[in-house]
C-alpha cells in the first residue's frame, strides 16, 4: 500500500457511486425481457432437433421397426449402456427379417453423447427431446424397446427452440408436464 491519499476513492464512497451502479443493473433487468421460464406451471422449453435427450426408436413410414438389431449402437456406446439382442422375424415387423428381441438402454449410465445415433445405419435410434428424467424409482431409468418405440411427445417434425404452453397431465406414472406445441412463443436466448 502506497502512502498516497486516495481522494478519488473517498469521493466515490461519499456519493454512493458503486451502490448506484449496482442499483442501475437491478433496475435495468427489472424492465428488460425475462429469460427464466415459468416452468412447470405455465411454460415449457421445447429444445432444438439437435438436442440429445432420452432415446427413441423410430419406425419407417409404413410402421415397420427400423432397427435391424445390428448392435452397432451398443458397440459404439462408450458407457456400454445399450443392450441389443437380435432375433429372426420375417412377419414384416421390421424392415428386415432381423429385428430386436431386446433393445434396452440404461439412462443412468448414458452420457448423451449421441454416438449410438451416429452409428445407427437405419436411423432407428435417435436421442429425443425428452429431458425430464428425474425419478424416484431407479428401475424406471432402464428403458425397453416397447416404451422406446412409442413416439415421444415432441416429434421430429417440430423444429424446436421455442417455449410452449405447459399443462399438467395426470398419468399412472405420476403428474407430467406436457408442452402444448399449439401455443408457442418464439424466444431468442
Amino acid at each position: 500500500m502506497s502512502g498516497k491519499f486516495d481522494i478519488v476513492g473517498l469521493v466515490r464512497k461519499v456519493i454512493f457511486s458503486d451502490f448506484a451502479r449496482g442499483l442501475a443493473i437491478t433496475l435495468k433487468y427489472n424492465v428488460s425481457r425475462s429469460i427464466t421460464l415459468k416452468y412447470p406451471d405455465d411454460e415449457k422449453w421445447v429444445p432444438y432437433v439437435r438436442f440429445r435427450g432420452a432415446h427413441t426408436l423410430n419406425r419407417d413410414p409404413s410402421g415397420k421397426e427400423l432397427c435391424v438389431a445390428c448392435e452397432l449402437c451398443a458397440k459404439a456406446c462408450p458407457t456400454k449402456c445399450i443392450t441389443v439382442i437380435p432375433e429372426e422375424d420375417d412377419t414384416g415387423r421390421g424392415i428386415a427379417d432381423r429385428v430386436a428381441k431386446v433393445w434396452k438402454v440404461d439412462l443412468v449410465r448414458c452420457m448423451f453423447c449421441g454416438f449410438c445415433e451416429d452409428a445407427c445405419p437405419t436411423r432407428a435410434i435417435r436421442l429425443g427431446r425428452e429431458y425430464e428424467l428425474a425419478c424416484t424409482d431407479i428401475s424406471s431409468t432402464v428403458r425397453f424397446k416397447d416404451a422406446l418405440l412409442k413416439p415421444q411427445p415432441i416429434h421430429e417434425g417440430i423444429a424446436g427452440g421455442v417455449v410452449a404452453k405447459a399443462r399438467f397431465e395426470k398419468t399412472e406414472a405420476g403428474i407430467r408436464v406436457v408442452a402444448d406445441t399449439g401455443i408457442i412463443k418464439k424466444r431468442a436466448l
Binding site: V68, C70, E71, P86, A96, D97
Partner: protein, 839 residues
Amino acid sequence: MVTVKINGKEITVADNTLILEAARDAGCEVPTFCYQADLMGLGSCRMCLVEIEGQKKLQPSCITPVLHGMSILTDSSTVTAARAGVLEFLLANHAMDCPVCDKAGECELQDMVYKYGPAKGAHAETKFKFHEKDYVLSPVIIKNSNRCVQCTKCVRVCREVVGVGVLGSVGRGDHQEETSFLKGLLDCDQDGNCIEVCPVGCFMRLPYRYKARQWDLKSADTVCPYCATGCRMVIEERDGVVVRARAQHGVGVNSETLCSRGRFGFDFIGNAERLTTPLVRKDGVLVPSTWEEAVAVIKENLSAFEGSRIGGVASPRLTNEELYLFQKLFREVLGSPNVDSSARWDSSGVEAFIKAAGMNEGGVSVFDCMDSDAVFIIGSQVSEENPVTDYIIRRISSGRRMNLVIASPRAMKLDSSAQTVVRHNPATEGALLKAIILTLNENKLSVSAGINAIKETKLTDCVASSGVSLEVIKRIADGLKNAESISILVGTEFLRFPEGIDGLDLLKDVCRKSLGKKLRILPLLDRCNQRGAWEMGVHPGFGTGYRAIAGRGMGTHAMLEAATRRGLDAMYVAGVDIASMYPDAGHAREALSALKFLVVQDMFLTDTTRLADVVLPSSAFAEKDGAFTNQEGRVQTIARLKNPPGKAKRDGDIIRAIGQSFERSFGPDNASLVFDEIRREAEMYKEVSLVFNNKRNIDNKLDNKEALVKASSALARGFSAWNGGAPSSEETGDYPFTLMTGNHLFHSGALSSNSASLSGLLRAAVVEISNEDADEMGVKSGSLVRVKGMTHESDMKVIVRRGSKKGVAFIAENFADTPVNRFFSRGRSGARVSITRLG
C-alpha cells in the same frame, strides 16, 4: 532351394513354394480370398496379385510358384491399385447388408475393404440379386448368395476334405452361385465346414442365426467332447448360453474342420432338462435335496459296505483329472479295486487291446501314420465314428501315393479314397487278420511263437469265416509286404469283439519282427477321453499309467453280474448311462435294482439315474478345466467358459467332496494340482506339455508332438493277450441279419440326444442295411420295417447303404426310444435279427 527377393528382402525357400507362402514367410502380408492351404489351388479371386519385376502383368501369388532370382513386390502402387480394383468389382453386386448379416464384425470382405478397398465405388448400376430371401439348405445351414465372393472354398472343402461333394457352382462370372443341386435341401454330413471356410456371410449357421455379434461373445479354448479325434475348438457364449462352436485354421489336428457333432452338438449344455439340484430317494421317490445331505447319505451308506463290495463306473468323457480322482477315491479311500470306464464292452479285452494297439508305447500322431506307404484301417467305421480323422485321411491320401486299405462290414464314405476295400463278416476282424498273417507266412517267415500258435488254424477256415475272397486277402498281404512303412488304424470293434485282438497283436509282431517293417498303430476311439480314462487307471486290471496293481477288480460286466448274485452292495456311477448302454438292457436294470445303494452323477435324468438312491447333478465340458487325452495320446486342455446351472457341480468337485467326507485330506484341490500329481504318478504324462493353445499363429503346427504321451515302461507284467473263447457260432435260420451297433455320424452316446441340433438332424433310430438286401426285400431308404431279435422287436425306418456287406444290419446305440441294447443278451457275442417290411 531357391532364393527370391520379396520387397527387396532376400529369402531362401524350397522349390515350388508358392509366391504367397514365400511372401508370408518373409513377413509380407498378402490378402487372399480363394486360397486355402489344404485345398486345391484355384487362383480365381485375384485378391493376391503381386508384381514380379520384369513381368508386365500382375500374377496371382497363390498359384504361381517362385523361380530362382525372382524379385517380387507385394505392395507397390500397381498392386495396391489392383487390390482396390478387385474389391470394387466384388462389391459391385454385393448385397452390403452388413447390419443384417451374421458375419459382420468377423467378415473377411469387410476387413479387406477397410484395409485395401476403394473409399467409393464407381458402379451405379442396379445390383444383381440371386434371390430376395435367405434360403435354408439344411437344418443347420442357411444361405445368402447375394454376399458371395465366388471363392468356391465351400465347394472345394465339401469335395476334397469332407468327401461328400454335394455343393457345386452354377452359372458363370458374377452370376456364379455356389449351392446345392437345384438349391434343394442338402443330404450331407451337416458338418458346416462350408460355413467355416466361407469368408463372407453366405453360408451361415442356422442355430446361431441372429443370436449375437462376434464382439458379444466370451470364448474359451476347448476340445470337442464327442469322439477321440480330439478336435480343437473354441466355444463361445452370450449371457451364459453357449451359442457357437468353431474351429480355427491352423489350430489343432482338425485345423478349420469339425464334424456335425463338434460344430453343432454343444447345445446339450444349455438344455433345460439339465439336473440342477441333488436328489435323494426318500420313501421310494427322488426328492430335491442339498449337497450336504446328499454327501452325508453317501458317506453313511458307503461306509457300511466292505470296499470290495462297492463298484465304480466313470464316463470316458470326464477329464483326466476327474478320472484320476475317481480311481483314487476307489482304490485309496474306499478300498475297492472295482473301477471301470465303459458299459458298452467288457473290460477284460482292454489290456490285450492296449498292448496290441501299442498304446503303452506312447502317443502316435495321425500325421505320422499318414506318412506311411500302407495304411490299413480295420474295426472302425471311421467316417462316422471319427469324422475328422476321416477328413485327414482323405486329404492326405489324395495328395500322395499310398496304399489305403479299409476293412469293414459296412460301406463308408472313405471307401472312395481306398485302393482296396474289404467287406468282411461282422466280428470276424480276427479271422481276417489271421488269414492275412497266414498268407504273409506262406513263404516261411521266420517263425515266431505267435505264428506257431495259429499254425493249426487253417487258412481256408479263416477265409471262410471272414467271408472275404482269398484273392483280396492276397492283395492286402502283398500290399503290406511291398510297403516300407505300415500304419494300422484299429477301431472299437476290437473291444466289442475281443476275439480279434490276438490277430492284431500277431500282425504287429509279424510286420515288425519278421518283415522288419516300420509299423505304427493308432487306436480309433469313440469317446473323447477313453484313452485318458485308461491311462488314469480307471480299469479293474491296471493302475494310473498302466501300472500293475495287486489283484484284479471287477469291470462293469462283472459288477452287474455280481450285483444280481448279491455279491456287490453299492455302485457309484459317474456320467454313464449303464441301463441304456449295456448290451443287455434287462440284465442291467435287474442288476442295478438289486444293489443296496446306487449313486449316480449325471447331467440329465437317465434310465440309470431313475434307479439311483442319490442323484448328483454334474457338469458339461464347457463348465470345467482339465485335460483330455485323444486317441493319438495327445493331451489337450479344456477351459471353463461358464458355471454349471443351478446347484450342479463339476464332476471333480463332487468326487472330491465324497472323498473328503471320508478323509479330510483327499485331493489335490484343483485341476492343475491334480495334473501335477498325475505327472508324478504316471511316467507317460511326466513330460507332456500342455502349453499349446488355440491362438492362431504361424508357429502353431497342426501336429503338436510335445503334447503326445510318452512310452510307459510300467507295463512290466505285460498284458496278457486275449484268451477268451472264440465267438459262438449260431444258427442263422430265423434271423438272417447280424446286428451291429456303434455311433451314428450325428450322434454319439447319450450325450448327443440331448442336443437339439443333432436330434434335429436325426431324431429316431434307423436301421441301415445293404443295397443287396434292400433290393431283395423290396425296400427303399425311408421305408418302415420291423426289426425282430430274440429278445426284442422294434419298428423303424430303413436306410440303404450301397456297398455294405449282405446280411449286416446296423442300428446306432444311442436312441433312448429305440434302445438297441435290448436286442443283445449276455453270453452271446453279437445279436441276430430279422427284418421285415411293413406296409
